[in-house]
């Protein structure tokens, strides 16, 4: 059952990315390019996702536990450290270079563009590199 709900969750998540066109790197770069003809769509996507998630989480965290698990799996680290800052900065540079972040890249994989496949391959190499260099 957990697996079925995770599938539905992934499906809804991705439909959200598709409908809001966040799977289109041109659209994302149109947001990040504040010096050009700015497209604020991404801000509204994140804003509405946040409003819904905040309201929903509030109800969910009122429960003792999730429906199908013993407890909530939440990050315990609360410290803003160098890893967080450097990692986020590098992630941001990559996001700006490509116009893709992990979700949208995987969502648009079935469209079969060479750029998407290359991005995902490079992303996996990046994740593996992090795994072997820091641990």
């Amino acid at each position: 059952m957990k697996v079925a709900f995770a599938f539905v969750s992934g499906l809804i998540f991705s439909l959200g990315l598709v409908i809001s066109q966040m799977i289109n790197p041109a659209k994302v770069i149109g947001f990040l390019d504040v010096s050009g003809e700015w497209d604020p769509s991404l801000l509204l996507v994140m804003g509405s996702a946040l409003v819904v998630t905040m309201a929903g989480y509030k109800l969910v965290f009122g429960r003792q536990q999730p429906m199908l698990d013993e407890g909530f799996h939440l990050p315990v680290n609360r410290v803003v450290d160098h890893r967080l800052l450097v990692g986020a900065a590098l992630f941001g540079v990559g996001w700006g270079l490509a116009g893709f972040c992990p979700g949208p890249a995987l969502s648009s994989l079935v469209l079969g563009d060479m750029q998407t496949v290359s991005f995902i391959a490079a992303m996996m190499v990046g994740m593996i590199t992090k795994k072997v260099t820091f641990n």
Binding site: S35, T53, A98, P102
Partner: protein, 147 residues
């Protein structure tokens, strides 16, 4: 460039929110794509691997096939285009993979789920990657290395 599309942005964003809430309500998990993908690389005994990771693979399967569902329902083509050239996509992919794992999250994990929990780390990370991305796009344009 692209036009402001407020209605589809709000519908799409709300669906992302619904998905994040559903995954927390049912599985007690954060819908963070880089964490889900990256943790699949962790080594562990095979039985443990399958029982720990089945939900992650199911989430990713849903993520990947969604455009096909969209075609089926809407019969509308999906247009995407790549303003930056291939070398930048590859360099960007590497940095996205490395940086999201080092920083403990990406746009979904930090930007949506983390901020929704009012996590200080996620607020700082999101502000940092937004700023870095805006500066990067600006420099790519200034240096004329778009295509």
């Amino acid at each position: 460039m692209t036009n402001f599309t407020p209605v589809s942005a709000m519908i799409g964003g709300s669906l992302i929110g619904v998905s994040a809430v559903l995954l927390m309500l049912v599985n007690g998990r954060i819908a963070g794509v880089s964490g889900i993908v990256g943790s699949l690389l962790d080594k562990m005994p095979i039985r443990e691997y399958v029982s720990d990771n089945a939900w992650k693979m199911a989430f990713l399967f849903g993520l990947i096939i969604a455009p096909l569902v969209y075609f089926y329902i809407s019969a509308r083509p999906l247009d995407i285009s790549f303003p930056h050239r291939l070398e930048l996509m590859i360099a960007g992919g590497f940095l996205v993979g490395f940086g999201s794992r080092l920083g403990g999250g990406c746009t979904s994990g930090h930007g949506v789920c983390g901020i929704a929990r009012l996590s200080k780390r996620s607020v700082v990370a999101t502000a940092t990657f937004m700023l870095a991305a805006v500066v990067t796009v600006y420099l790519v344009n200034v240096w004329g290395i778009v295509r």
